[in-house]
Amino acid sequence: MFNFAFSSLHHFLIMDGHGIYVWPVYLVSILLISIGFQVTIRKLKALSKKIKDA
């Protein structure tokens, strides 16, 4: 169950030509979710600062 499914790292990235579909999907999703976290945290900090100053 825990055998590396590809013969080499190169194959892992290419995935028999399916890599160009698989990798962008994961990267874009990770990017979107982390932007979600980032933006919220930044806004939260700005807001806390504003309330403290007021």
Binding site: M15, D16, L32, L47
Partner: protein
């Protein structure tokens, strides 16, 4: 009695305080599970006999699709609580879940259509589940736009709850009506009643990714609702003490 019970445990203040206590656990556990599930799925799960390696999108697509719907049902429960018992926190939670729902629905649509290129040879099909997911996405956008177009936030809360409740009735109707078209999708891979049609070495990483995705989204939801609650109640004393 129910009303007083709900009101005692649903003050925005206690929500923010309680969730802050286990926020970091939820987030780190979620990210850890998500990473485990994805690495397992991407690198160690065996190749699919029919679809080849492109099936590996499943570890992202299926969790995203599941939570695209679950978040809406969560919002509908909150909307009922808001309309029936006038629970303020419920409205705050709807408003903060909507962007999370829109985000994950977009990811579900996006990953699905990319996955469609190698498997179906097309990135878009007017198939039942894709169409209903697209409609779900429009519904999320509608809820967000509706709330932000009113200056009186309490009015906006009430109208948004009405829309969410009407929308949740609509979901099964959409499903049934678009099912009338011929459908491209494989039947759902995991069902509770039947034995799963998927190999265990693929099922485990899938289940891990689903739980990881769930916890990560809950963490994001907690964060957004904290931001929103503080924005809404910034004139209250507890907020000024809290920050």
């Amino acid at each position: 009695m129910i009303t007083s019970f709900i009101h005692r445990f649903s003050s925005p203040k206690s929500f923010v305080e309680v969730t802050a206590r286990f926020f970091s656990y939820v987030m780190y556990l979620g990210l850890f599970l998500l990473a485990t599930g994805w690495i397992w799925g991407l690198a160690f799960a065996p190749e699919d006999a029919i679809q080849g390696n492109s099936y590996r999108i499943i570890f992202l697509h299926v969790p995203a699709s599941i939570f695209a719907q679950l978040i809406y049902f969560f919002m509908a429960v909150c909307a009922l609580m808001h309309l029936v018992w006038r629970v303020k926190l419920a409205a705050y939670l709807i408003k903060s879940s909507a962007p999370v729902g829109a985000l994950i629905t977009f990811i579900a649509l996006f990953s699905g259509s990319i996955w469609g290129i190698p498997t179906w040879g097309t990135w878009w099909q007017w198939d039942a589940r894709i169409t209903s997911t697209l409609i779900l996405f429009i519904m999320y956008l509608g809820i967000i736009t509706l709330h932000s177009s009113f200056s009186n936030a309490e009015k906006a809360d009430r109208l948004m709850s009405i829309l969410v409740v009407v929308g949740v009735v609509n979901i099964p109707i959409i499903k049934k009506s678009v099912d009338w078209w011929s459908t491209l999708h494989q039947p759902a891979s995991i069902t509770i009643s039947e034995a799963p049609s998927i190999d265990l070495s693929m099922l485990y990483p899938l289940l891990i990714s689903i739980s990881g995705m769930g916890l990560t989204l809950i963490a994001l939801g907690i964060l957004i609702s904290k931001l929103y609650i503080i924005t809404r109640e910034k004139t209250k004393k507890w907020v000024q003490n809290y920050v």
